[in-house]
């Protein structure tokens, strides 16, 4: 993707594209799956940063999660319906983390809340235009997904400690939701 396209995409995400450019870009989005995926990502991150995400996202999350799992890459895949989804878990972890990241829509730096002083690339929607910025977002996204894999496995073990009560189960389910 060229820098110009990236800039347009970012402008589109922010609703700052003029109508002619908008028309062109939308047509490209229809053809270019990678571009569409990137746009979705920008959009999600932007909305999340603005704390604007609705409880239910207005597109087919199931398909995106399924597709992402099929590819085993935690990117936002284009909405291609996948029936009979039954690919447990790489799983639960990955599905959960993607769903969490999507439903929640938290960009990684919010979802992960690194400790104070930790080096964190803070991206704001306005600063996402370049391809490089997009890569940073994606790397963080993957990082988040990987961390969730570990968290799920950890909680499964934590259920064995009787003193924890139902909390580990609640945490597992909680990953599906807004956090």
């Amino acid at each position: 993707m060229t820098d110009k396209t990236a800039e347009q995409l970012s402008a589109l995400t922010d609703g700052e594209l003029d109508s002619q450019e908008l028309d062109l870009l939308v047509r490209r989005l229809e053809r270019d799956e990678e571009l569409a995926a990137r746009w979705t990502r920008y959009h999600l991150i932007g909305e999340a940063m603005r704390n604007n995400l609705p409880e239910q996202l207005p597109f087919d999350l199931t398909a995106r999660v399924s597709a992402a799992i099929a590819e085993e890459a935690p990117v936002v895949a284009p909405a291609v319906a996948t029936r009979g989804w039954k690919r447990p878990v790489v799983g639960l972890a990955l599905a959960a983390s993607i769903a969490a990241a999507a439903l929640i829509g938290l960009p990684p730096q919010q979802a992960l809340q690194p400790e104070a002083g930790a080096p964190v690339a803070v991206q704001t929607p306005e600063k996402l235009p370049g391809a490089a910025a997009g890569q940073v977002a994606q790397v963080d996204w993957e990082r988040n997904a990987r961390l969730n894999e570990f968290l799920m496995s950890h909680n499964e073990s934590a259920t064995m400690n009787q003193m924890s009560g139902v909390i580990p189960y609640a945490r597992m389910v909680g990953y599906e939701e807004e956090r």
Binding site: L92, A95, L112, E115, S153, M160, N161, E176, R179
Partner: protein, 358 residues
């Protein structure tokens, strides 16, 4: 701390003496030091640890973590085939977690997922030895009474004796000892995570167990769903050799799994450490080219994690403990790729492990 532990062990047969001894040797403990109180704490702990899995009940609880609030329905039963439990989300998207036959099945909006349990036994919270162990790192004190979901409850405060773990307040239902409210407390005293029943009914008759069809659907799911269950660690080639120079005080290895991720057959070492209350997981995997790495601190909810990468190995330490604890854990961790033919070894908390393992 170590001297207190030793005293503690020797005094194990005289439970009523235990807490006063610890109070005398540990700064900052808050109990009243009355033998009667210590005995009472122990009784509550024993009931809580001993009996809940035998109960039949249904209820609703709320789970609160930061700004996140979740409401869940829970049904717990004791069937011929063993303990089972069902959780249904009442808020947000419909989700269900079914624990039966030791398998954990999550039904999510995206589909159904079964985690084949790798557990062989519960954590070794055996009585009374492990209560002694708990008391080395936490001070227990009863803090009056309260009502939760209409039930009388006793409040048990669990205060860490150092900064390596979080505190806990437990509301224990008076007749059964069941945990009806939990509050995980940070070092500043603020709640990190909470669970509270808003409705709870104990049942004389076991609720209808999950149907055979449901269990089959859940358990069968997919052959080899998720992580390949492994009965012994010997069945999967070791990923790495590792050792812990100085694990945080009190944390001992309680479990070691080795499994393969369904996706790519990536073997993962999963070692679980516990101080009896808090749990820390150590994951070790080979670095997969093209996959992102986890390095340094991360936090999700009340959980902290620390990633470390060296020599083609990714290690991740995760637990419901302060960030400093996972950091210390990771710093003491040395690892190297496993030789093809040998078995991974663990060097643990030698003295303490030997002392307290059943």
């Amino acid at each position: 701390m170590i001297s207190a532990g030793t005293v503690c062990k020797r005094a194990a047969c005289a439970a009523v003496l235990l807490l006063p001894v610890l109070v005398a040797t540990t700064a900052g403990a808050a109990e009243d030091g009355q033998p009667r109180a210590a005995g009472e704490v122990r009784q509550w702990l024993e009931r809580t640890l001993g009996g809940v899995e035998r109960l039949n009940f249904e209820g609703t609880f709320v789970y609160v973590q930061g700004s996140h609030v979740e409401s869940m329905r829970i049904t717990h039963g004791r069937a011929d085939t063993g303990e089972w439990q069902r959780l249904n989300s009442l808020s947000g998207p419909k989700r269900e977690v079914l624990l039966a036959n030791r398998d954990l099945t999550c039904s999510l909006p995206q589909g159904q997922i079964t985690l084949k349990s790798r557990r062989v036994t519960s954590f070794p919270v055996s009585l009374p030895k492990d209560i002694d162990r708990l008391e080395r790192h936490y001070a227990f004190g009863l803090q009056g009474e309260d009502r939760v979901a209409g039930h009388e409850a006793r409040i048990l405060a669990v205060t860490p004796r150092d900064g390596l773990r979080y505190g806990l307040r437990l509301w224990l239902e008076k007749n059964t000892g069941m945990i009806v409210r939990t509050m995980l407390v940070g070092s500043d005293g603020a709640p990190l995570e909470q669970m509270m029943y808003t409705d709870l009914r104990f049942l004389d008759v076991a609720p209808p167990a999950p149907s055979a069809a449901e269990l089959q659907a859940a358990g069968a799911g997919d052959p080899g769903s998720g992580e390949t269950p492994v009965s012994t660690v010997a069945e999967v080639a070791p990923v790495a050799q590792w050792s812990l120079a100085s694990p945080p005080a009190g944390f001992e290895q309680v479990q070691h799994n080795r499994f393969q991720r369904q996706s790519d057959g990536r073997p993962t070492e999963h070692v679980v450490y516990s101080d009896g209350l808090a749990t820390i997981s150590l994951f070790i995997e080979r670095v997969t080219p093209g996959r992102s790495l986890l390095e340094g601190p991360s936090r999700i909810g009340a959980m902290n994690a620390w990633g470390k990468v060296a020599d083609g190995i990714q290690a991740v330490v995760v637990g419901e403990v302060p960030a400093a604890t996972v950091a210390a854990f990771a710093q003491g961790l040395k690892f190297a790729p496993a030789p093809v033919t040998s078995t991974a070894t663990t060097a643990g908390t030698a003295d303490k492990t030997a002392e307290t393992k059943p």
